[in-house]
Structures are given as C-alpha cells and as structure tokens.
Symmetry: C2
Subunit: 355 residues, 2 copies
C-alpha cells in the first residue's frame, strides 16, 4: 500500500457518494463530458490531432477543466483514451474515419507473445503529467477521475484491430486457444494495474474501468474468460490504493450485472438499457451505483430531459450512493444547453433541506 496524500476533494459529494455516504445533493458527471459536443473542444481539435491532445499535459488540463466548469459537473475526468495502453504495447494506433485502428491485430498465441509489456510507468508518463497539470488547474474541491479500459475491452480492440459487431477474432482466440487468451488478458492486467496506480499517484481521486464491449459475451463466457481478469485488475489496484474508489462500468451488461459486481469495484456503472430501479434492487441497497440516463434524451427538449432525469432519480428511491450519469458516453451532437439544464436539474431536484 502506497501513501497518497489525502486530497481535499476526498470529502466532495462525488467521493462521498462513491462510498455510499449521505450527501447534500446527488453528484453528476457525464461520460465523455469533454468532447465533440462542445464548440470549444471542436476548435481545439481543429488545431491539434486527437493523439497530440492526449499527449499534451497542458491541453489535457485545459480540456478537462473547461468541460467540468462549463457544465458544472461534480467531478472531472481526465481527457485521455482507452487505446493508449495498446499503443504502449507496441501496436500502431490511428484514428481514421470509421473508428480507431490498431495494427497488427493480435490473433494467435505468437501474436500475444510478441505484444510488449505495457511498461505503464515509463511509456504512459505523459498521461500522469496530464493528470498532474489537470489537478493543479482544477478547483481544489473537485475530484479528478482517472480511467482505463477493462482487460476484455482492450483485448477485443487488439484482436479485432478496431471496432467490431461480431467480435469474430476475439472469440475465436478465446474459444480456440484459451491459453493464449489468458496470456493476453494477464499481460493487459499487469500493465493496467501499474497504469491505474500511477494515475492515482499523479493525483486522480477516483478510477473508472470501462468495459465498453463486454456486452458482446454471454454470462458463461463472462464468468470463464473475463471476470477473473477484471477481478485481478481491481484487486491489484486496491492492494496499492485501497482509499481510491473504483467505478466498474460496462455497456450491454443487464444480464451480467451481479457478475460485474462480484468481479469488484466500489461503484457499479449501469448502462441505459438496464432498468435503474431493477439494477438497484438486484445489486442491493448498499451498493453505490452510477447511471443511467439514455444519452439520446439529451437531443430532445429541456422539459423532456428533466422528465427523464426525474425518472432516474425516482428509480433510485432516495438510496444513498447514487452518482448520476448517462448510461453511455455523451454523443457528438448533444446540445450543451441541455447538458447544463440536466446537471442543474439533478442538483435542484435532489438537494436536501440542509444544503
């Protein structure tokens, strides 16, 4: 267990909610809150590429802090990308139209062998520099979230070489060569533990693990091929930083929510396809939960946004340990005014009389 200074934002509404403690209002942040839906982000991206932005600590700080302040979110999430870890393993990473590309794809035991160890401390040092710069620029009371892809999602990107609908190559490796699959997942987990620990040491008060593609596997495959590795990752980070809450989020996870909970994490992220009321009762009243507004609701009227936000609040039924978020990342054409209205609304609607 490594000592990390207890930052003032550890007493924030957001971190308190991660621990299931009573709060004066439900904290809100939005996945991808610094992104294309903001004109300021688009202007920045007209000047620098996505990867240049990720690698420039000052621009990371500017982008991250601007978004948090603009929308009034209760937490900031460091501007970065899941796939930087795969680049650190020696894969070539690019962002052509149609989604990210990784090459060469990993499709056999020997491909797995040839994949380099992440060496997260050295190779991803620019991420920690971005976190330090962000932490310095962010209001002291606002917690900063670091993040990484879950081993399954990163393995799937590596196997497919980009986005996929059928996950042919991922599952082929899994089913045909379970030993190579495990070796791939273990290599990822080793790198990810170091990566997330370094993020905490650089100044992240919370860590989110994104298993964005885990909805592609059924419950048995999650149990046999995924969960042990997610658990190893979470336990590995927790052994070093027990104080830092971990949010464990995946999409398409309605059928494996209890398994995700069992795999670990202080907070379980709930996707928008899952009934929030059911998720809360399935996971137990004591389980802190994050979610789960349908992101497309933000494309409609402010009135409808508030109506749907209220439904999520109602589904939470006054339990502690609720972090309000979307059930998926915010989409590029979301009107900023609706985002601000959403966050204000959640704050007003959940404010206790003592606040």
């Amino acid at each position: 267990m490594r000592a990390v200074e207890r930052h003032p934002s550890f007493d924030s509404t957001f971190i308190r909610a991660c621990r299931g403690l009573p709060v004066t209002h439900t904290p809100v942040w939005l996945m991808r809150q610094a992104g294309r839906y903001m004109s300021e982000y688009r202007e920045m991206r007209a000047r620098v590429s996505f990867l240049e932005l990720c690698r420039s600590p000052d621009l990371v700080a500017e982008t991250t802090v601007f978004a948090q302040e603009r929308i009034g979110a209760d937490a900031a999430i460091v501007f970065s990308d899941l796939l930087l870890v795969l680049e650190a393993m020696g894969l070539d990473l690019s962002y052509p139209k149609g989604g990210p590309r990784l090459s060469p794809p990993v499709r056999s035991a020997s491909d797995v062998d040839q994949l380099e160890e992440v060496q997260a401390r050295e190779r991803l040092a620019y991420v920690y520099a971005g976190i330090r710069a962000t932490r310095a620029a962010l209001a002291e009371t606002v917690p900063l979230i670091g993040f990484a892809g879950a081993p399954f999602t990163l393995a799937a990107y590596a196997c497919e070489g980009g986005p996929s609908r059928s996950f042919v190559h991922t599952k082929s490796l899994m089913y045909r060569d379970p030993g190579a699959w495990s070796a791939l997942m273990e290599k990822l987990v080793r790198g990810l533990i170091e990566y997330l620990c370094c993020q905490a040491e650089a100044g992240a008060q919370c860590l989110q693990i994104f298993d964005s593609w885990v909805g592609a596997v059924g419950p048995e495959d999650y149990r046999d091929f995924v969960a042990p590795h997610s658990t190893a990752l979470i336990n590995g980070v927790k052994a070093v930083h027990p104080d830092v809450p971990i949010i464990h989020f995946g999409t398409g996870t309605g059928q494996i929510l209890e398994q995700i909970q069992a795999a670990g994490g202080d907070v379980i992220g709930v996707d928008y396809q899952t009934s929030f009321a059911q998720a809360r009762s399935r996971l137990g009243d004591e389980q802190p939960v994050q979610g789960n507004l349908e992101p497309l609701v933000l494309y409609s009227s402010p009135e409808y946004v508030c109506e749907r936000a209220q439904r999520v609040i109602d589904a939470n039924a006054g339990r502690t340990g609720h972090i309000f978020n979307l059930g998926h990342g915010i989409l590029p054409e979301t009107p900023v005014d609706n985002v601000i209205r959403l966050i204000d609304y959640v704050h007003e609607a959940t404010a206790t009389s003592s606040s």
Copy 2:
C-alpha cells in the same frame, strides 16, 4: 380468420415444439442457415445479386431447400430479407459494402407521411411466389418458416438509413415527435400484418418476427415506444391465422425478455448474451423458447461445439418447448462441417428412447 390447409408438416417435431408438445428429439434450425458460410450459396451469389436472388422464386426455393437438406435442419426458413418491406414503402434499397442503405432516410413527420403504405399483397408478391416454390420443393414433413422484421427494427433502419451504433435518428424522432413515431410504427404494422398473413397463405407453417435492433432501447422505451406496436402486429396476424405459431426474437433483449413475452408470440427467441437457464425460469416452464448457442462457438473445434451445445441442452433441463438455435444469425466464415456436427449432436443428445 382465413382458412389455410393444414399442411402435413404441422405435425413435425418443430411445430410440436413451438406448441410446447412432447417431441422425440429437440428440433434445430439456425438463423441465416442459407447463407454465405456455404460454398454453394457463394457460387449462386457470384451469378446473381442479393436482391435478384430474393426476387427469383426458383432461386429462393433452391437456396432454401438446399441449406435445410445440407445441414439436416428440422425446419427451413424462406430465403429473403427484412428490408424488402421498406423498399415496398418507396425507399431505395441497396447493399453497398458496409451494410444496407435505405434512402431517403425517414427523419420527420412529413417523411413519415410521404412513406407509402406497404401494399404487401401486391408489392411483395414475389416473396409469396418464393414461398410457394419452396413449399413445393421441400420435403412434405419439413415445416417452412416465413418471417418479417419487427416494426421497431424496420423503423430504425428507415430512420438511420442503414446500420447504426447509436440510433441517433431513430431515438430523436421517438423523443422529439412521439406522434410521428407512432404514425411510422402503425404504418409498418399495417403492412407487416398483411405481409405475414400472405406468407402463411402462400405456405409458411410458422412465422418469425425479428426485432434485431431492439436491444438499443431500454425497458421504459420498449414499454412506451415499441411493445404496443409489436403486440398489434402479433395480434393482427393471430386474428387471421391463429394456428400458425409465431416466434418473437430480438437481440440484446436480456433486460426486456418478460416484456417481449408479454408483447406476444408462441415462442420467445433468446439471444446468446442471455443465460438460457435463467431465461427459461424467467419466462416460465410452459413458455416455448428458441435458442441460444453463441454463434462464434461454431468457429472452434467440433468437440467444443458439442460441449457448448450440451450446456444449452442442460440449461433447458428437459422442459418441453425447446427449439435449438443459435442466439444470433450464423456468421459468414462458419465451417459447414461444424454446423452439421452441431445438428447431429443435438439430435443424438436429445433423442428419447421411443424415437
């Protein structure tokens, strides 16, 4: 209620299982069983385009019957496409690389107004001709399945103009203009009732409704924007052809399985992401169910195929009313030998002593 001659295949294992009756072995068929994974299909497609094939009754019969016989499936499904209905509504349909395209996309109330009624009896007459030709060529004891897309899935294709990940246009119409959304769904339902009834009259012994994209909506949106229309479709067909079993299938439906059951259908299709054991107990022992092998398992070894097939059989736990199928369509590079091994295995493993 229209009289349809009771075909000999109404006493087949497949139709008996659709009704929940005892059978001598678990019947098997595979979604997209006539398709690209078969060299004979690829050779056919080297000569005629996909749409030409769909529109040629003789080629439809040849393709459909060949696949059923080659793999020994307990039912045939007419070779056709979900999107022909949208073409009949006046949209231009093409199949460029990257997925089907429909234009112009339907994005407003006036777009919905301009969409023509399907006029299924006239405009899709070639489908019924294909069914008649197939029925004539198929062994008398083998039932023939007709099918259509569910209203949501077709509406989503029409709104997006092709495949989508976020369903931005579909949900925008739904949330911004619920009246236009309903009008679109109702127009589809009117056409689909006629379309499925005509298929039954042409000789289909069973009808499957594919809600392939319904996993994109959460439980509340399914309830408010989808279920009433799926129910209207199923009830509309049942009012005319109460004898013809309807299979109601969607993907990504683990969270709305009970709602899909409530919406209607004699058999509920279960996707591969859902635990089959849980699905059977959630839906009740009496509910006939179809599913749900992970399609990618067929890319592995014959031994692993049998192992995973046995797990599905075990999860069914001897209940009547099980139709064995994949939990999604078969994929293009599936080895045919594994498919044949799968079907033989399910037949052997589930044969009762009386058979």
